[in-house]
Amino acid sequence: MAGQLPALAVVVPLLVALLIPLVSRFNRRAAWWMVVGALGFAVYGAVAMLLDLCGSPIGTTIEYAMGRWAAPTGIEYVVDRLNGIVLTMIAAVGLITALWMRKSIRSEISEKARPGYYATFLLCATGYMGMAITGDVFNLYVFLEIASITSYVLIGMGRTRQALYAGYSYLIVGSIGATFILLGIGHLYMEIGTLEMADIAQRFAANPELYDSSVVRTSFAFFTVGLAIKMALFPLHGWQPSAYSRAPSAASLFIAATATKVSAYVFYRISFSVFGADFLISALPHIRDGILILAVAAIFVGPLLAIRQRCLKRLLAYSSVGQIGYIMLGVVLLNEDGLTGGVIHFWNHAAAKGALFCVAGVLVYRTGVSRVDALAGMGRTAPWTSAVMTVAGLSMIGVPMTAGFLSKWYLGAGALDAGRISIVPVLMASSLFTAMYVWRLVQLVWFAPKDTEPLVKEEAPWSMRIPALVLAAACLYFGLTSTSVDIARDAALSLGLGAP
């Protein structure tokens, strides 16, 4: 079976998702178990492949030709260290969300809609995993649409009418982004004549003059803008706060911890494995600088906007705007340290943001509101959840010995390597802003005045507590070991950056 893992990791969740509505007609309880089982299998597949890759020399890939149609005729799935990391992140966060969400779903989604919700959720996870694993540009678009459309639905399933509005406006903006990406693919196909990523890269390598073609450049422009919308890169982040805050807690947990990062991963993949790093370095230095400026602006503005938010989920959404900036900074620094910092941030941010959305979910579950000030005094009634929030918050700030510190360390080192010392103060300023909003939460939770009556009356149920604790533990684990850094550095090397 090991040889079939790349296909199975996607196909199994896909099929199970389609079966859920059917099975739910006979047994209403089965849907949740099916989601957990399918995602559990996906985690197994992703981790097995990543471990396999870690044991192999740098540059090894696991390739899988769908239906044995060899590329470029057929569609090929390719797993290397980079998307191994992303795949593991999506599957793991998906599984943790699935384990976490059962009670939250019961309180937020009507019984009739639940099987549909579970099926959509699983399809959404499948879509993102497909985006990560595929080696074919058009197939990427197909999965992107699966992931996007299911996301719109998930967001629209929130309790309030504003959820519909948020889902709808995300649909409009997201469709524009997806269309741009499709146009990018079209232009690329027009000029190159193939859709297979490795094949395109080879043709670029064989004919460097293709870099001067305006069709190719137009294609890259479409990709960049389309993906920037999907990943909510500043200043195209407008859809994100309301989408995150109106969605059901379980959906915002999964989407916030994975979705925008998968689009950022696609940008990594398109830049390095399709167009090739040389394209950004030599052919389009100004575009690279432009993206760099946007990334740095995101890092600066995101946490700044988060400080004043009254809704916890919106606050976290704005903080995500900044965090995507880190990941994009990693790619456009175009050196080993920077890329390492960007790649480890996939995991680090997934763990921290996932944990924080778990806390937001508990807040909604226990109080029905997501206002920040509803957290007051939660430390007394729900110490575990409050501790999770504190640890994840420290990791967001980037306190040493938490995961966030390593991301910033490597990004800073990358910035110095690239001779851009001016980025370092921005990273520090961003940490300071982050410290300001995290400290506000910490103070509310632990140091509320004695006479405040905590709105959160009890601790989260164990089913919500344990997944959150796992994510918080991950924030510490990745901060105290070199696990993620080792894999990410190898990923950076295998993308052709830095000394081999």
């Binding site: 040493p400 103070q443 140091f447 070199s482």
Partner: protein, 507 residues
């Protein structure tokens, strides 16, 4: 036996571990205050014994320490026992025992809330101090420095009143802001310039690097200001703000542990990151001497105007901390001249780490005792207090003498050496600073002593003797006695400080 030796090789980590274990014990015993305080006290004693053992190993020339967690190159949590570290650790762990005793008396007499949180955070703070003291590299030091800020926040905000919150916010804003905004980038620049974070290799590596002098100077200034815990102006105002904390916190943390972490950090930066040679070559010590002199005089001037006793002590601390920084600057200044005759007197700053700790904690203990017994917080209310609380006020007077630098209290030791080294280093104007400061110290401490002993108790107040609870009185007697004994038997601390200065200056 071999296992034991291996374990003792990690004695510094063990010391951090003991304190953290104490935290667990304190939390577990939260239902029974007596057991809880017993755990605190036991932890403090065990920790001190461990540190004392390390001190003996250090004297015997044994290397103790090792890498605990190796995250990625440059980022590791590692420990090594050396003179400067053991000096700081001895002071902090020794005074923790006394302070625990004092805390028990103070907190119970006051019927304070959330005592479990108080004692637990206190133990974490000491763990952070131990970790910082024995850190063998910049990253460890930074990590423990940050931990100390975070775990002392609950102690400062303890009362949870609006004033406490405002004070605590300022506390955490200054300390975290400076360390993230200045120290972390400085750390980063050092790593980029030198390629190592280990104190043992850093001075040589920085010396050999081709970084521009401007960048090195910038990094140095960023370090000094980033370690806002050292209280140098203009990053000092968190310290008076932190006085909203209960007095035991002000006593141990904001006279000893936290602020000493700051000056200890700066000592590390001067001696073991840049190295005295490099700093002397680039004349960066002038900056340090100038900044410290400014702070010494201004701190004292502001102290003079404070009526709140604790605030007056806080500004006095700001001023006194800069004596240590001044000493470090002078130490760099005499480098390159004839080492053999100079190294000893140049240790004045390092020596002041220990001397100031004993004296200042006595003063704070006394201030807290007055508050517990008579509920007085202002200098202007202290008329005749000496007659009501003779032991407390005697201890206070000894502390004050030490601050001014008069025998038979320990303060004169370090001040005398500072005077000598400013003559040696050809800084005649520093003599003026020291003289003015001593006068100012006298001007804001002696009136308190005078009021307490020579003015009558105001009309309508009780005049009977009323000392604070016995644990408080015992604690402040011990530290006052310590201040005297240090004057008569200064060998241990003097030898240590000299060794540190020699190691830093004689490379």
């Amino acid at each position: 036996m071999i296992a034991f030796i291996d374990l003792m090789q990690h004695a510094p980590a063990l010391s951090v571990g003991v304190c953290l274990l104490g935290v667990v014990g304190i939390l577990l015993a939260r239902r029974s205050p007596n057991v809880r305080e017993g755990v605190s006290l036991t932890t403090a004693v065990v920790n001190f014994v461990l540190v004392a053992w390390m001190f003996r190993q250090f004297e015997a020339g044994e290397e103790v320490g090792g890498t605990l967690i190796d995250i990625v190159p440059g980022l590791e949590i590692g420990f090594r026992v050396d003179g400067l570290g053991i000096l700081f650790a001895l002071v902090a762990s020794g005074l923790w025992i006394v302070n625990t005793l004092y805390s028990v008396g103070y907190m119970r007499a006051h019927n304070e809330h959330k005592q479990t949180r108080f004692f637990a955070c206190f133990a974490i703070a000491i763990a952070a101090c131990m970790g910082g003291a024995f850190s063998s590299n910049l990253f460890s030091l930074f990590a423990f420095y940050e931990l100390l800020t975070i775990c002392t926040y609950p102690l400062v905000v303890h009362a949870e009143t609006p004033e406490a919150k405002a004070g605590a916010r300022r506390y955490v804003t200054y300390l975290l802001g400076a360390s993230i905004g200045l120290m972390l980038p400085a750390l980063f620049l050092v790593w980029n310039m030198a390629g190592t974070m280990t104190f043992a290799d850093l001075p040589a590596a920085l010396d050999a690097s081709d970084a521009s002098p401007f960048l090195i100077a910038l990094t140095f200034v960023m370090f000094i200001l980033g370690m806002a815990k050292c209280g140098i102006m203009p990053v000092h105002s968190w310290l008076p703000a932190a006085m909203v904390a209960p007095t035991p916190v002000s006593a141990l943390l904001h006279a000893v542990a936290v602020v000493k972490m700051g000056v200890f950090g700066v000592s590390r930066i001067v001696l073991d990151v840049f190295g005295t040679d490099l700093l002397a070559e680039l004349s960066l010590h002038h900056l340090l001497i100038a900044g410290a002199s400014f702070t010494i005089v201004c701190g004292s001037l502001v102290a003079l105007a404070q009526d709140n006793l604790k605030r007056r002590l806080a500004y006095s601390t700001i001023s006194q901390l800069s004596y240590i920084l001044l000493g470090l600057g002078l130490l760099v200044g005499v480098t390159g001249e004839d080492q053999v005759t100079h190294y000893q007197v140049s240790a004045g700053g390092i020596l002041h780490i220990g001397v100031h700790a004993w004296s200042k904690i006595t003063l704070f203990f006394a201030a807290g005792a007055i508050y517990v017994a008579l509920h007085k917080t202002k200098v202007s209310q202290l008329d005749g207090v000496g007659r009501r609380m003779p032991i407390t006020m005697t201890a206070f007077s000894i502390g004050a003498l030490s601050m001014i630098g008069l025998p038979p209290a320990a303060g004169i030791l370090s001040k005398w050496w500072l005077v000598e080294s400013s003559v040696d280093g050809a800084y005649p104007w520093v003599l003026g600073v020291l003289f003015v400061s001593a006068m100012l110290n006298a001007a804001y401490f002696l009136p308190i002593v005078f009021r307490a002993f020579f003015k009558p108790v105001p009309e309508g107040e009780e005049s009977g003797r009323k000392e604070a609870p016995w644990p408080c009185v015992l604690a402040l007697s011990v530290t006052a006695l310590g201040t005297l004994l240090l004057f008569f038997f200064p060998e241990v601390i003097v030898d240590l400080a000299t060794a540190v200065a020699q190691g830093g200056g004689a490379k």
